[in-house]
Assembly symmetry: C2
DNA sequence: CTCTGTCATAATCCACGGTTATAGCATGAT
DNA sequence: ATCATGCTATAACCGTGGATTATGACAGAG
């Protein structure tokens, strides 16, 4: 194989039709270019240029070669340009797996801020449950996931983002409750929770089981969105993530029912494959998430 | 711009997923490849591979770059391959300008032989008059022409191929004429010649004028083909190129009318632009024509 | 007929891509 | 556990080939 740099010299000379000019563009001396061209001619066994006192002109063979070399270097130049953009965070693609709830109540503002700051970086968001998100991660179909952290599994690294707490809330029609009530006593109310396949739900169920408490929800639904809405209109007591109803609580639209023992806090965070270099775009995003 | 050889190293490593293997393919040592990759990473500012004890795996950025570099080098490799074929005369294109008559009576066998010997080289034959052929040559639309030589014009080089002689012939119905007759006496016969725009005709006319002879043809036609055919069926006396009716004369199908003074011989040859390198294919063709 | 711009050649030089040797590290086998 | 194997990284050194400068030859333009 012929030294690719010789092709670059050839490319420059053919494009400018002038060895001296090409030398300038290549930041080398004119004899260096002359020698390179001659060397290329020897290696290919073809005369590539007709020299005259007014410059050089490619021969038929030179013209044919030029077409190929031109295309070749255009690809290389494009690659260089794209890589530069990626490095400068002007281009990229991030694929992130995240549950619907987290996406809506936690992720959205970060997403918006990031997009505003790095408009060239596109994002694909895959809304799945945490378990499925881990599967996608294993298959390399997403860059990272945002999930409830206690999903410890080997082969992944985790990074905490936020501590969340689950609470029971009611609409304002319900009476205010000041002092914590026993968990079991909540069975008097119509209870509303996420569906069983949800990690949040699983976490709560496990906790209740530990404390020998049995609570049977009357309404199970897949979206926390609707759960909050239902509580608001007074359908019953909903188990939701406190962080995501701060506003409603402070406005008094929703009221927290303190329980005893208090539900333990848990964490949400980023999960990504161990031993895998993140793309620049993904790493940048995670950085902005973390601060 | 980044040294294109670094891209070649990158290309090889990415394709094989293994620095040591790539080193073997590139015929250099493993550390040399490691250094090159690291250098490329520094220059681009991107980590391109994830190293492990089982080889290397391109990062997201590495994968993206690879797409470009792969395309780039495929073009360069194609160029190299095509040029090699051209050099080996397995590929090429020759554009030649030649008159109808010369093509049929002189060129055809050479063309066939050449094509048999170099089947990969394609030919474009442009049938025009000599004057137009010269014009095409000036415009670079043909590689060379085959014409009557006395067309001296600067800026072209000529190369003789064949000496030809013009003769008057009749069909066998006409009486045999042993001793040369005066040119002027031919006016007694119905004369048949090529049309005025033809160079052969112009040459003859000039010669006749020099000798104060006036011969008015009864039939003027553009193809020597038909001219010969007309003579054969006894329509009159045709002025044709002797070399192209050798067979008919020896078979007695046509008879030559010797004239006095004898028509001067002339030459046909190759004309090509001065100071222009011929393509390998064209040069090869001219070589086979000349021997 | 000089002047200018172009490419080729010659002599010289040193940076850099190459080499060898070795260390470090995972992984899988004994 | 321990070893063997197959990778890559690092270090130190070396020699070649691409680069430079200086100069020559040539052709066209003014």
């Amino acid at each position: 194989m012929i030294d690719a740099e010789l092709y670059r010299v050839f490319y420059t000379v053919a494009a400018s039709g002038n060895i001296s000019t090409a030398a300038g563009q290549l930041f080398v001396s004119q004899p260096a270019v002359s020698k390179s061209i001659k060397k290329l001619e020897n290696l290919t066994g073809c005369t590539l240029f007709v020299r005259s006192s007014r410059g050089v002109k490619p021969t038929t063979e030179g013209q044919i070669l030029f077409e190929f070399v031109k295309n070749g270097f255009e690809h290389l130049e494009n690659g260089e340009r794209v890589l530069k953009k990626i490095r400068n965070k002007e281009q990229g693609l991030i694929k992130v797996g995240i549950s619907n709830t987290l996406c809506r109540y936690y992720f959205m503002p970060h997403l918006e801020a990031f997009h505003r700051r790095y408009p060239g970086i596109r994002m694909t968001i895959v809304n799945r449950t945490s378990t499925e998100t881990l599967k996608l991660l294993e298959q390399g179909l997403i860059d990272f996931g945002v999930i409830s952290i206690p999903q410890e599994r080997s082969g992944f690294t985790y990074r905490e983002l936020l501590t969340i707490r689950d609470v029971f809330v009611t609409g304002k029609e319900y009476p205010e409750i000041e002092s914590p009530v026993a968990l079991q006593s909540l069975s008097r109310y119509p209870l509303m929770m996420l569906e069983k396949d949800n990690v949040t739900r699983a976490y709560i169920d496990a906790y209740l089981r530990e404390n020998q408490v049995v609570l049977q929800p009357e309404i199970e639904i897949s979206s926390m969105d609707l759960l909050i809405e239902f509580a608001r209109i007074g359908l019953g007591v909903a188990l939701v993530i406190r962080n995501f109803v701060e506003e409603e609580l402070s406005q008094g639209v929703l009221k927290e029912i303190p329980v005893h023992p208090a539900l333990p806090s848990r964490k949400i965070g980023i999960v990504m494959p161990k031993n895998l270099q993140l793309s620049i775009a993904a790493a940048t995003f995670i950085d902005t998430l973390s601060n």
